[in-house]
């Protein structure tokens, strides 16, 4: 082991940053108990603390990373649950991204692995390729039982075709009534193929609230998928295209916000400033985009939701996507909005735990992803909710595989309550209205647990 090797490499600003981050870890171990892979295995090297040590050793040691190191780092979900409890706020998000990029450069995976990862990186972020791949997958899935295990697992992850919902197209959508805000919407990549209804609901809702919504030409994949695979240059290329498109749009007509309805993308976009910190040409532009980026729930919470046209008294279990909860610290707003739209909101136990989606994780690590998907689904169903609301397409796809509950995006429910159509995921499902008064719903972050004004329940008297 040689720290000199690390020092030599530290001329690379990314690795210099990694070295600094590693130095901040004090080994308290609060991260271990929150880490899904540690909770499943109780193996030190399947915890953030263990992985930080492995990364240190990997960067200090000349030559290719050890295969077991790569395995433990590949198993990391990048869910950032560890960051939420770290006593010293170790910047694990950037550290694991640096480690993945280092592995991509210095480790020679098997040819099947390389091919698989190459195909994912090329296909999923491109909606034309992805759409074609899914259509092909659905055909081939009929013969899945004749396929090898790995292919079978992949085919199992192919979701059914969306219910004919229409995607939004690039262009401008006018505000209903007086325009109060002008916003850009990240239409995204995989989401447009998997669940196009989310963008449609977002546009309907925002225009109803007085926004002109622009889907900028040229803005597509945010770069998150490739970034988390260690393919930094592809990620930056995607990010640059988006930055150019939105800066053009901002300079043309002004932008109050860039709205993201896929929280995995939101976390990456809010970090564009950091991603381009060493790029003098893009740094300032990237910072501007990052500063404008908000999750759709943050934005609507800020501008205010109209009173629901029809009170929807359904019990909704709200699942915190890791990227929203841990990456962006957005937890109160979606719950507050759903409640104000009439829904009875309940938390899913073990809310800080990842559902196993984690970008492309459920494709690359299907076994752990399945355990986590099943665990989260059991918890969601145990709440007795009629449906599950989520703010991220990856979680929707993942959880839909494992739960009997309909899984819909928060925005679809808000749109439905304020005059939009029923979300396609609820059509044909028997969903029961909740007899509980909405105000009895508790807020994970608030104080009211039972109806204010109640002086007695079967358990207590006040």
């Amino acid at each position: 082991m040689s720290t000199d090797h690390f020092s030599v490499q530290s001329a690379d600003p990314g690795l210099a940053e990694a070295k600094t981050i590693i130095g901040t870890c004090n080994h308290f171990g609060f991260c271990t108990a929150t880490c899904p892979t540690y909770a499943i295995t109780h193996h030190e090297n399947e915890s953030p603390r263990g992985r930080i040590d492995l990364i240190r050793i990997m960067l200090e040691t000349p030559g290719a990373p050890a295969p077991q190191t790569v395995r433990h780092l590949d198993n990391c979900l990048s869910c950032l649950a560890c960051v939420s409890t770290c006593g010293v706020k170790v910047d694990y998000m950037h550290l694991i991204d640096h480690a993945r990029a280092y592995i991509e450069l210095h480790y020679w995976r098997s040819w099947t692995d390389r091919l698989f990862r190459f195909l994912i990186a090329k296909i999923v972020p491109d909606r034309r390729y992805f759409g074609a791949a899914l259509a092909g997958g659905r055909l081939v899935a009929r013969f899945a039982r004749f396929m090898p295990r790995q292919v079978r697992e992949l085919l199992e992850a192919v979701p059914p075709a969306s219910n004919g919902a229409q995607d939004v197209t690039a262009g401008s959508y006018r505000a209903a009534g007086t325009m109060r805000w002008r916003v850009a919407l990240l239409a995204g990549c995989a989401q447009r193929v998997l669940t196009p209804q989310i963008n449609a609901a977002t546009v309907r809702l925002l225009t109803r609230l007085g926004c002109e919504v622009v889907v900028a030409h040229g803005a597509e994949c945010c770069g998150a998928l490739t970034l988390h695979m260690g393919r930094t240059s592809e990620a930056r290329a995607s990010a640059k295209r988006n930055i150019d498109a939105w800066i053009d749009e901002a300079e043309r007509g002004g932008l109050d916000a860039i709205i993201v309805n896929a929280s995995g993308c939101g976390t990456t976009m809010k970090d564009y400033g950091h991603a381009f910190r060493h790029d003098p040409r893009y740094h300032e532009r990237a910072q501007r985009v990052a500063a404008l980026t908000v999750d759709v729930s943050e934005f609507i919470d800020r501008i205010g939701l109209h009173a629901p046209s029809v009170a929807r008294h359904y019990k909704v279990a709200y699942h915190d996507a890791c990227s929203l909860r841990n990456g962006q610290r957005v937890t109160r707003q979606p719950r507050r909005l759903l409640r104000s739209a009439g829904y009875v909101v309940v938390d899913v136990p073990e809310a800080g735990f990842c559902c196993g989606s984690a970008g492309t994780y459920n494709l690359l690590q299907p076994q752990i992803a399945r355990q986590l998907g099943e665990r989260k689904s059991r918890h969601a169903e145990s709440t007795g909710a009629a449906m599950l609301a989520v703010g991220n397409v990856g979680c929707i796809t993942q959880l839909s595989r494992y739960t009997q509950l309909p899984v819909v995006h928060t925005v679809e429910l808000l749109d439905w309550a304020t005059g939009g159509p029923m979300p396609p995921g609820l059509k044909g499902r028997r969903i029961q209205e909740c007899i509980m008064h909405p105000e009895a719903s508790h807020d994970a972050a608030g104080l009211i647990s039972a109806s204010e004004g109640e002086t007695a329940t079967g358990i207590g008297v006040w």
Partner: protein
């Protein structure tokens, strides 16, 4: 590894399966690591039981092969020894992984039956799932700490059920001789439990207390009493400007608690305990950690966060905000007599992170915000000195000056929270230091020992202690106390295999 140790591990692997065992270097190193001044212990390995029966198997094997074992629950026990045994050469028995079942929640009678691995977060989540009609007594420590572990270590919360050991009712314990005992009425008919978890005062001696801060047995199951969640919890806060306001604060709190007008305990945090979660020591680089924070820096930090030398927090539980409004007004008027404390409303406090920690913990909501105190100085050293004070303002102020001076002599930053009841307050002194700096590590060690001696000289002991100082604290007690503990140890654990050295026993 010695032969008896190898034979112990072989027995465990044979009887519980190889997956119940981890002797990898990574695991041994991490389980021995801790944040206290003496540092890492040498751990032989880790065993993960799944049930009381498996704990019995482990204890029996430990007796056969004379291998000391060190049981732990869930969480980190940060600042008090983490997961590390008191002495080198012990096998950690980690019940946090598999023994994490909530076997019953009785909403009618308000209790839950839990195993050692059940965390505050898990119990909270389960109660919420069931309709949020009952609430846990939260600490402001890690949400993933063990409810049962915290209780048997005499941990505390902030609400009416703050006395966590007192809220346990009916324990199941594996003794050091591998026998299983149930305290209270759990031993009438083990197959038919009626009053086990609702009555503490049944026939015979109350054995429960033997298993609080001891090493006589391994608690594998217990019931914890739970409080009905009120419709509204409304906090109130007062910010006091001067260090010497502590006497006034203590004397103001006492009558409110004596009459139980305020149902929660009071958190009384000094400036650094409050802002330490939001800041790092701004002078550390300049002073290289050799001096306490300057008066100017204290003043600047207070101004920056709109806080004072002391922050006082409490809360009311009730049916509505309207019903609680007169009670808040009554407390305001009471504190107003001092004419120095500034009132901070519940709404305002929600936007002040250090005060929001008080709100969460008094509302039975686990939170991890207070963990950020540990980054006040670099290097990750942390230990806690936990004496108590009677609720008498004059003495509290005198001890405050004493503690402040000892911290200053050792170049450390005085960080303290008093958790105050009617007659007594636990005084949590935080020592955050750079354990990578041998001089600072030594000063922290000396500071702790000096505090312990000075308080003991005044007849004051501690509530909990870091593993480094268990023997030292036991040696401060009268010899007959120590002899009695060791006699009980010999009776219940004749081979001394459960956590020898813990609490200075065995």
């Amino acid at each position: 590894m010695r032969q008896n140790q190898e034979e112990f591990f072989a027995d465990i692997a044979r009887e519980l399966g190889a997956a119940a065992l981890d002797v990898s270097p990574e695991a041994r190193r991490r389980y021995g690591e801790n944040t206290t001044t003496r540092g890492t212990r040498d751990v032989l390995g880790v065993v993960f039981p799944k049930s009381t029966a498996e704990v019995v198997t482990i204890v029996a094997a430990a007796n056969r092969h004379q291998v000391p074992i060190y049981p732990i629950s869930a969480g980190n026990n940060i600042g008090l020894g983490s997961r590390a045994p008191v002495r080198d050469g012990q096998v950690v028995v980690d019940m946090g992984w598999h023994m994490s079942r909530i076997s019953e929640v009785n909403e009618e009678l308000g209790y839950a039956v839990i195993e050692p691995g059940v965390t505050f977060q898990k119990l909270h989540d389960e109660l919420v799932r069931l309709g949020d009609r009952l609430m846990i007594s939260a600490t402001s420590g890690p949400p993933l700490g063990s409810v049962l572990g915290n209780a048997v270590e005499k941990g505390a919360g902030y609400g009416p059920h703050f006395d966590h050991f007192g809220m346990l009712c009916g324990l199941e314990v594996v003794l050091g001789n591998a026998e299983v005992v149930r305290t209270g009425e759990g031993s009438v008919r083990p197959d038919k439990v009626v009053n086990w978890h609702v009555s503490k005062y049944s026939f015979g001696p109350i054995l429960d207390g033997l298993f609080a801060q001891s090493n006589f047995g391994i608690v594998t199951r217990a019931a914890v009493w739970l409080l009905p969640r009120p419709p509204v919890i409304e906090s109130f806060h007062f910010v006091f400007p001067a260090d010497d306001d502590l006497a006034t604060i203590v004397d103001l709190i006492r009558p409110l608690k004596m009459s139980n007008f305020v149902p929660t305990l009071f958190r009384v945090c000094n400036d650094l305990y409050a802002v330490g979660t939001e800041e790092t020591n701004p002078e550390y680089e300049r002073t290289r950690g050799r001096q306490s924070l300057s008066v100017d820096a204290h003043t600047a930090l207070r101004a920056k966060h709109g806080l004072g030398a002391w922050q006082v927090s409490g809360a009311f539980y009730g049916p509505s905000r309207a019903a609680l409004a007169p009670m808040i007004e009554r407390v305001r008027a009471h504190f107003g007599r001092a004419q120095v404390g500034r009132f901070v409303s519940h709404e305002e406090a929600q936007s002040i992170p250090p005060l929001n920690i008080a709100i969460d913990s008094m509302s039975g909501r686990p939170g991890s915000a207070e963990l950020a105190l540990l980054k006040w100085r670099p290097g990750g050293g942390n230990t806690w000195f936990t004496p108590g004070i009677p609720m008498s303002g004059k003495l509290a102020q005198e001890l405050d000056r004493l503690g402040r001076a000892i911290y200053a002599e050792h170049g450390l930053d005085y960080t303290i929270m008093h958790v105050a009841g009617a007659r007594f307050a636990r005084s949590l002194h935080v020592l955050v230091f750079n354990r990578n700096d041998p001089d600072e590590n030594h000063r922290a060690d000396e500071c702790y020992r000096r505090l312990a001696r000075e308080y003991a000289n005044r007849g004051i002991g501690v509530g909990r202690a870091p593993i480094d100082y268990h023997q030292e604290h036991m040696d401060m007690l009268m010899p007959s106390f120590k002899a009695t503990c060791n006699s009980i140890k010999r009776a219940l654990d004749p081979n001394g295999i459960i956590a020898p050295g813990r609490y200075g026993i065995g």
